[in-house]
Amino acid sequence: MPNLASPWLEKQRHLIDFTLASLGRRKTKNLGLLVAYALLVFVLASLALFTNALRTEATFVLAGSPEVILQRMVAGRHDLIPPGYLDKIGRIRGVQKKEGRLWGYYYDPVVNANYTFMARPAEEVASGTIMVGATLARARGLAAGNVISFRSYSGKLFAFKVASALSPDSELLSADLVLLSEADFRAFFEYPAGHYTDIALSVANPLEVRNIAAKLAEALPDSRPILREEVLRTYQSVFDWREGIVLTVLSGAILAFVILAWEKASGLSAEEKREIGILKAIGWETGDVIRMKLWEGLLISLTAFLLGFVGAYIHVFHFGAPIFEPVLKGWAVLYPRFTLVPAVDGLQIATLFFFTVFPYTAAVLVPIWRAAITDPDAVMR
């Protein structure tokens, strides 16, 4: 095979050959190191990819949320919207639609799960029938046509026929929903007539939303307007790296990594020093020794990073991030099945790359600096 490579390139390949052969002398230890390193990257990258994708998806789908939701507070706690409240809003300019919403929580002792009951207009859900979220349907083994009974908080048993299950594609949003007619809702929860849970308002001009919310607060001082932008902002800061579990996982991973790098940087064994002396004695320059070690650091950290990252991608976007499921599920019984659309934040990954590859490479180089610049005649003795 004709040799097209320059001497410099050939030399780098030689250095890589040597460093790999050197690593191969302690295969198990170095493989273990690589695996541990890759696992670290895997966990961190999985977290980054998962949270970023979830945030992106939440931002997209929740763009369809109502512009303003109005809640009423009594003595600092949520209370129902009384009759006539809707009219008090009057005709504020810019408000296209205002609608009283009826929804609430129901605890199902059969599976120890919490459901969200929502009232819908008659054309969507007929009286006596319900539509259920896909996760709920799976948990209770429901299909269209089945009948299910719920015991209301007043002790009465209500039977409903399942008209259909909501699409599994929207499970992330509709996992625990039970949609029923307004009449059924009021009867089930013994909801006082004319009262609503909250009010949803749609506003045509997005720039007007804050003004309208201000006007609402003026007109109804006991109300609490929640804007769509605030909804979206909440989901932007979910899984924030400064909070709770994410911070714990992150700190744990970083600590593990620091220990790894520290172990590398904490000096050479006598044999390693001797070997560097031999290399210098047989004609390697200081620069060659350092370059060889640099290749070692780079090769290990690059391989570990790429393995971890690609593994994380497959883990999150093909398998739905199963290692995070128990954390997210917590004590909940219903956990939606969802696959996220791949969305990679380049900056995040670049940061991860920078903070894994460079410290490790530096950690490999630091201890050999001293040995590399020593005179080789010490080898003779």
Partner: protein, 224 residues
Amino acid sequence: MIELSNIKKAFNQGKPNEYWALNGIDLTLEAGKVTAFRGPSGSGKTTLLTLVGCLSRPTSGRVRFRGEDISGLPERFLTEIRRQSFGFIFQQLNLIKGLSALENVILPGFPTGRPRAELVASASQLFAQLKLEHRLHAKVEWLSGGEQQRVAIARALINNPQVIIADEPTANLDTALSREFMAILESFTAAGKTVLLTSHDPLVVESSAVHRVVGIRDGKLTDD
């Protein structure tokens, strides 16, 4: 070919354990000849070899190699001269464990950037000459003492140097292997190479292969 002028070498200079290994050596070594240095331990033989072979620098004095003053050269140039012109056979052999014989032999060739195929071909040739072909890929720690030494010799020769330096080469060999080594030495000189070695062994010092014996004691030359 190699000239030493008033060479002095001290270790731990300035410290309480200061030690002068060489105390003014003047010496001229001819090309193409085998020169043996003889003397008791601690006489400075090994230090002299390291100075001649560019492994270290003298504290004072000058070393001239092919007319060029090399004692004051920066490390990079010194290393290049060492790599191109000198081949070392250490007393402890200093082979790298865990690597095969072949990998050990081609190591000095790595910084030169020569293609691997070329290095492997040179190494194979040397192995054939030294009757080691069957041990090409064996790990060095599995080789016998004699085989290891031949690997060390091959390593010293891979860059085709002009000068071979050997420190106590027969110290760990039996008589038969020592004789074999001297025969190999003769083939070096036949090829025009210069050989410098140190030895206690009368078999080496009194061998017909050696052209000149230099005595050294307490860092100074004695007889010639």
